[in-house]
């Protein structure tokens, strides 16, 4: 299993869209894919028609009573998506209380790594959709993944979020005593606006070694797909957003190897 975390400590940068689109494109290549929703808002969970307020079990429950050890329990927690070879580990809003509930307990940043180790043979890829806030859930994702993808909106405030994300990553790597490769992905790029062009230029100047040299453009078809609860390539395999994500997938696959 290869585990990629799609993370940024800023919201609205395209994390969930990236997870869904990349997951769908991997599935189209015949890969078995697990999408993991670590965000208490449950955007990914809602995307596929599940109610984060109404589910009986979710990632939240794996943190208690050592349920990450029980592979049958984990498998029964998974939900289907609009593709047979893509499953989802959903979020519930109760995840928002996790920080308080695990307070003071050592090792709670490793629950997701242990859970995914149990599912190692079930999937070829796991893509993690993380919350836009530093906490136990984001740390779980960083500790479990082998590759970090940082979607960053091409606008000034997003650059500050990127700075914080890279700083967090450096500290987690120091704590885990390992290197974690990361790839910064400019998103919501609109070449008609000076804000997009200026931000992209700034990103290239500051992060030239880790920055993907293309950008994900603004594309309303991606939003249309989310309204229908299907993967963007199922709606339109050749829309410019999907084409850009296809290039990104090839790039990450190459870098990760």
């Amino acid at each position: 299993m290869r585990i990629w975390s799609i993370s940024n400590q800023k919201g609205g940068v395209g994390k969930t869209t990236s997870v869904v689109t990349l997951g769908g494109l991997l599935a189209a290549q015949g890969k078995r894919v697990l999408l993991v929703d670590l965000d208490p808002h449950g955007s990914l969970t809602s995307y596929f028609g599940q109610d984060p307020d109404g589910l009986d079990r979710s990632l939240y429950h794996l943190f208690f009573e050592q349920r990450w050890r029980n592979i049958d329990y984990i498998r029964e927690t998974l939900k289907p998506t609009s593709l047979d070879n893509v499953s989802m580990l959903p979020a519930t809003t109760s995840l928002a209380t996790l920080e308080r509930q695990v307070s003071g307990q050592d090792g709670m940043g490793l629950v997701l790594a242990r859970t995914l180790a149990q599912l190692w043979d079930d999937f070829d890829y796991a893509l993690l959709d993380t919350p836009p806030i530093l906490g136990v859930l984001l740390v779980n994702a960083l500790a479990a993944c082998q590759q970090l993808v940082i979607p960053t909106q091409t606008e000034h405030l997003a650059l500050k979020g990127l700075e914080r994300m890279v700083h967090t990553l450096e500290m987690v790597m120091k704590s885990q005593k390992r290197q974690l490769p990361y790839c910064i992905v400019p998103t919501l790029f609109d070449r008609r606006t000076s804000a997009s062009l200026t931000s992209l230029k700034e990103m290239r100047r500051t992060y030239q070694n880790s920055l993907w040299d293309e950008a994900i453009p603004v594309d309303t078809r991606l939003r249309d797909a989310s309204h229908q609860g299907i993967f963007p390539h199922q709606l339109d395999a050749e829309t410019r957003g999907v084409r850009a994500y296809r290039h990104l997938l090839a790039h990450i696959d190459q870098v990760a190897k």
Binding site: G107, W120, V136, V139, N140, A143, S175, Q176, R178
Partner: protein
């Protein structure tokens, strides 16, 4: 800034703590437990599985070993998990299976294989 960083580092260290155990520590504990089990396992005559069902104490120890073993998985960096974790999971599943078997060549062989994985 420096104080902020220290606070955050303490937070990460706590969340990512593995109870002070390293891979070597855990492997050593498990290997010792397995050796103790093997020492107490007489070189068996071929027996039908139903001939000897008095394995309760060994079963308890094996289950403990399996529980202990699972703790090793996250100690490996995820880059190594693809091979290391799969081997470990397989070994622990075999240990679980061996706990259900009566003493005999099959069970003895499984224990030897598992010991090899954990030493490796």
């Amino acid at each position: 800034m420096a104080e902020n960083t220290d606070i955050l580092l303490g937070y990460f260290d706590s969340l990512l703590a593995t109870g002070g155990m390293t891979v070597a520590d855990e492997a050593s504990d498990i290997a010792k437990a397995l050796e103790a089990i093997a020492e107490n396992t007489p070189d068996p005559e071929p027996k039908a599985p139903v001939d000897n069902i008095d394995t309760e104490s060994d079963s308890v120890r094996l289950c403990d070993t399996v529980q202990l073993g699972y703790r090793m998985i996250p100690l490996y960096s995820p880059q190594l998990q693809a091979s290391a974790a799969v081997n470990l999971i397989t070994a622990f599943e075999l240990l679980s299976l061996s706990a259900t078997l009566t003493q005999g060549k099959v069970r003895d062989h499984i224990l030897k294989v598992c010991r090899g994985v954990l030493h490796g």
